[in-house]
């Protein structure tokens, strides 16, 4: 207890002053928490407050944020080529800092890497827009990230006997590495499956494991929202039931998760869906969605702003803007970014008027869409309608193209019917009155603009051939009645 207390003091000191964490000390705190859970079964409420840091009051927050932002700007201006060049041409003014766009990061990733850093791992974004962004991380950052994630996941309920399956892309180096490290620290089981055929994913989820000290099936599923949608579709259309799985929690991320899809996933897979927001560029800053569907951010890890995409001025509460993030030291020391424009649209919320369990924590709405689609209906609004309709296949494929008096919505549906059209038109009239028309097409490739989702990063597997008979005949193979023994 004594040594644990001292380590926690050291951790708190780093959080308060912005000095580097002791990676070794953090690993020991993780081990302390594992030991605590082994001994007592559960944590106390104070554990979460101690480790995840309660939000400071407004004045203290202002002081800490100001100091941390100045430190981040100083580090970037003195140690990265991009910001050294930029601040060489402009005065350093923390009230008028440059916006860093994804295009700038893509054009010269090396220019954002600190001279003082020791980069060891390059993580790339999925590059759905064509060119991925590259972000380098140091061993220190990876150690800190793994430890913080291990602490957060244990406080959220992850235990040694759980088994986590990651259905994210196997090429996504950072999440895969982090899953492995985190699982090693916590002691839970983990398996990297990747974005495979949804039938293989179901196979992994339903297969009994029977490992010593572990749950009998996969308990936690990590997947992009579009891949989760593909799995839900397969479960709904196949002969699978939630009882076939042993899931306890599902963590979708990386894409918009609609309320409709969340409910369908919970029904199909039999586990609560806990949505988070994260992006490789702004690691380790992450948004956590509360019970009232606000997205909350811990502001001690970075500055979170909601800005007008055109003027880059802060928007008022209730208005929509783009999420702009500045990760603070001591969380980042390699790829340093100031006011990084994520491109994700959110609605700014008045934090002081919230009544959820995280009411005092900075909050926005969930991601509504991308900044480049601000002119038409927001992606979330469209998806929310389309994903309530079981006749439209998941993941949803649609395109918006300009029409005479507004955008026209094109949706890929294998068997369009008049009844479906009328149902959709009725829904659209209620929620998206600005649309000029609806077009259903049976071929996703014939959409006027390609609808790319992360589930398209499909990884090939030889295993699929073994599943083909099952796909042709989804009915289960019944054991012969005389072999059923006691259960017959």
């Amino acid at each position: 207890m004594l040594a644990t207390g001292l380590r926690q003091l050291r951790y708190g000191y780093s959080l308060l002053t912005g000095r580097r964490f002791s990676a070794d000390g953090l690993q020991k705190i993780v081990a302390d928490l594992v030991e605590t859970l082994d001994e007592f079964g559960e944590t106390t409420d104070e554990a979460a407050e101690m480790l995840m840091v309660a939000e400071p009051d407004a004045k203290a927050e202002q002081e800490v944020v100001g100091a941390r932002l100045r430190q981040a700007v100083r580090d970037a201006a003195t140690s990265t080529a991009y910001y050294r060049e930029w601040f060489g041409r402009h005065d350093i003014d923390v009230d008028d800092l440059p916006i860093t766009t994804k295009a700038q990061l893509k054009s010269a990733p090396f220019a954002f890497v600190s001279d003082r850093s020791q980069p060891v791992l390059m993580a790339q974004t999925t590059g759905t827009t064509g060119v991925p962004a590259s972000i380098w991380f140091s061993r220190y950052e990876l150690d800190v990230l793994s430890c913080l994630n291990a602490l957060a996941e244990m406080l959220a309920g992850l235990r040694r006997h759980h088994v986590v399956a990651n259905f994210g892309s196997s090429r996504a180096a950072l999440p895969v590495y982090d899953l492995m490290r985190t699982s090693t620290l916590v002691g839970n089981g983990c398996l990297q499956v990747g974005i495979v055929d949804p039938r293989i994913a179901i196979e992994r989820l339903a297969t009994p494991l029977h490992l010593p000290g572990k749950a009998n099936q996969v308990t936690h599923m990590v997947a992009n929202a579009s891949f989760l949608a593909a799995v839900v579709q397969e479960v709904e259309q196949g002969a699978w039931k939630a009882a076939d799985f042993g899931l306890r929690q599902i963590f979708p991320g990386g894409e918009i998760l609609t309320e409709a899809l969340r409910l369908r996933a919970e029904e199909a897979l039999g586990a609560p869906v806990l949505e988070t927001y994260a992006a490789t560029e702004i690691t380790p800053i992450a948004g956590r969605v509360c019970s009232q569907r606000h997205m909350h951010f811990a502001t001690h890890q970075g500055q979170i702003e909601v800005l007008d995409p055109m003027t880059h001025r802060p928007v008022a509460p209730g208005e929509i803007g783009v999420l702009v993030v500045t990760p603070y030291p001591p969380f980042r020391d390699t790829t340093l970014l100031i006011r990084y424009e994520t491109g994700d649209l959110v609605r700014r919320l008045a934090t002081d008027k919230l009544s959820c369990e995280l009411a005092n924590v900075f909050a926005t709405s969930q991601v509504l869409g991308r900044a480049d689609t601000l002119a038409g209906p927001l992606a979330r609004e469209v998806l929310e309608i389309l994903q309530t309709e079981p006749a439209i296949p998941l993941p949803t494929r649609y395109a918006l193209v300009p029409g005479r008096s507004g955008p026209v919505l094109h949706v890929a549906v294998p068997r369009p019917s008049r009844r479906l059209v009328s149902r959709l038109e009725e829904l659209i009239a209620q929620t998206l009155p600005g649309l000029d028309g609806l077009v259903l097409t049976d071929d996703p490739d014939s959409l006027p603009s390609p609808c790319v989702v992360r589930a398209d990063l499909r990884e090939h597997s030889f295993e699929l051939s073994a599943l083909v008979p099952a796909a042709a005949d989804p009915a289960p193979v019944e054991p012969e009645s005389d072999l059923l023994g006691a259960l017959a």
């Binding site: 007592f40 079964g41 104070e46």
Partner: protein
Amino acid sequence: VKYETQILTQTSVVASIMIACALYLWRIEIRRPPIGRFNRADVTTITVIIIAIPFAYAALPVAVASTVFGIVFCTAIQTALSPIVGGRIATMITLAIAAADIALAIWGRHGWITVANDIIVGCALVGVTNIWVQSGAKASYVAVFAGVLAIYDPIVTWLSPLMQQLFVQLTDLPFAPLLSLVGHIRLRLGLGDALMFALWPVVLAKAYGRVAAWIGGALSIGTLVVIEVLLLAGRLPNLVAVMAIYGPVVVLQYVVLRLTRGPERTTAAWRASRTARHTERVESVDGRTRALAAARELDQLAAGTYAAFDDGVLVGTGHTPAQARRSARLAGCPAVPVVVRTG
């Protein structure tokens, strides 16, 4: 005072403290640290402190040493009382007891200060033992602690004059770290001895259950009575190294329990056993062994078919493990079966 009365009084007081510690454990949940548990590092720290106490008392000015022990005792008492009467009242009661002890020492009330000191030490022991045990202290740690004291105690008691000097020096001081009871110098228990007597049955209750705790308590009281009788019969030197006798008893009981009962329980398992709280079931090894044996004898299925077994009984088949699991569910098997590929 007759020797028999002294023995009876001392034994009763120690037994009362043991019972108080056990009742506290049974009825009151103490606030534990949010992260961390009582571990080897803590045992090492406590051992060093216990070993250092005589030297500290000899080296430090009396007022400083008394202040240090006063703070330690008051913290333990306040922590123990807080869940019962609330933090503020607990603080007030603790301060009142401490003030009384100091006042009696200043006024030189010889008999009364002994009683006040014993009350403070007794209450502090209830607090300390429960803080330790409810913070996850293991019986193995306590046994190691007892083993170390069993070596240290005779050295400091019999081979050096330190302990003798200490007992004389501590007479009538507030917050003296000993249980002195009736003033006869030979029947005093040092803080380490008293702590071990109070702690052992309580940690056994958590680790191995009530029966082990009762046996531990009986062995402790029995050892104390034997020491007292031998002392009065003149078979032991005037100053007894109690842990030299009691330490091996503790270690021996732990070894017997470990060999016969296996690993000790965690705090979670102990609490679950008291409240019948549900804990997540993890598959037993037997189910897997039976499934493998049953699969070997299975010749009705085509090679490469996956067979699902529940407790060695075939409950489903499929082209893949997942399909076999689903087949078992459709056949009415509520458990997750063990799936084996045949052939």
